[in-house]
């Protein structure tokens, strides 16, 4: 499932990365506001869902090569943070949905978590 499909499922606003949404296909997703947990428990090609919008989220993504970030609860990062993502070719989306619902929609659609437990619909 590529980011375009994910964006449509969540009716998400594209903050950056319109041109590459079709090309990016996350294999896993992780929902967390704790960046240390994201560093510790994610795998490669992971999409991060978070309510944090500061620069450390982009740094975290850079360190572990996250596929993209979806900001939940309608949280919008600053222009500086969006510019950081642009420099790193990191797609950013924003949904008005809370974290739980966002995770539920993507998990139900077949996007696996990082624990290795397979999603029910594959």
């Amino acid at each position: 499932m590529n980011l375009r499909k994910i964006q449509q499922l969540l009716a998400a606003e594209i903050l950056w990365g319109e041109e590459i949404l079709d090309l990016v296909e996350p294999r896993y997703a992780c929902g967390s506001d704790l960046m240390s947990d994201v560093l510790a428990f994610t795998k490669e090609k992971t999409l991060l869902l978070t309510g944090l919008t500061n620069a450390q989220v982009i740094r975290t993504a850079e360190m572990i090569d996250l596929s993209g970030i979806i900001f939940v609860r309608g949280k919008k990062p600053s222009q500086e943070v969006i510019a950081m993502a642009q420099e790193r070719n990191l797609p950013l989306l924003m949904t008005k949905l809370p974290l739980y619902e966002t995770c539920g929609i993507l998990y139900s659609a077949g996007l696996e978590g990082c624990s290795g437990l397979p999603s029910r619909r594959r």
């Binding site: 240390s36 560093l39 944090l52 500061n54 450390q56 090569d65």
Partner: protein, 147 residues
Amino acid sequence: MTTPGMVLRFSVEGGDYAAAGEAASKIKKALRKIGVDAGVIRRVAIAAYEAEMNIVLHALRGRLILEVAEDKLRVIAEDEGPGIPDVNLAMQEGFSTASDLAREMGFGAGMGLPNMKKCSDTITIETTKDRGTKVVMNFDIDDDGVT
């Protein structure tokens, strides 16, 4: 490994949240440039970033040093700061003395040192109260560049 003997040093300022992560980012880029295995780079990047965040969040100032040898990488994080009162406690997942500000940034969940231990092959911590802390992390690389 193509560049044994390479040493890179980066200054890290305590409280400089805007720059936090820059040193780890440069370390990651340098390792990519010299062709280190992606899995090793990931481990080093996570450990270096956690170490850098610890300096930014807890210390006055410090530095990150990357040393490249034939068969291993070493990251040293040393700082002038309060020191760690109880290292065993700090190594426990979930224990943290970080501020609310650190938590607002997504850190301070008590995972920093445990993450650094998990990502490195060996870790040593020397700390002195009111003086500072030095963390040395080694990352093994075999002939194929895979740990």
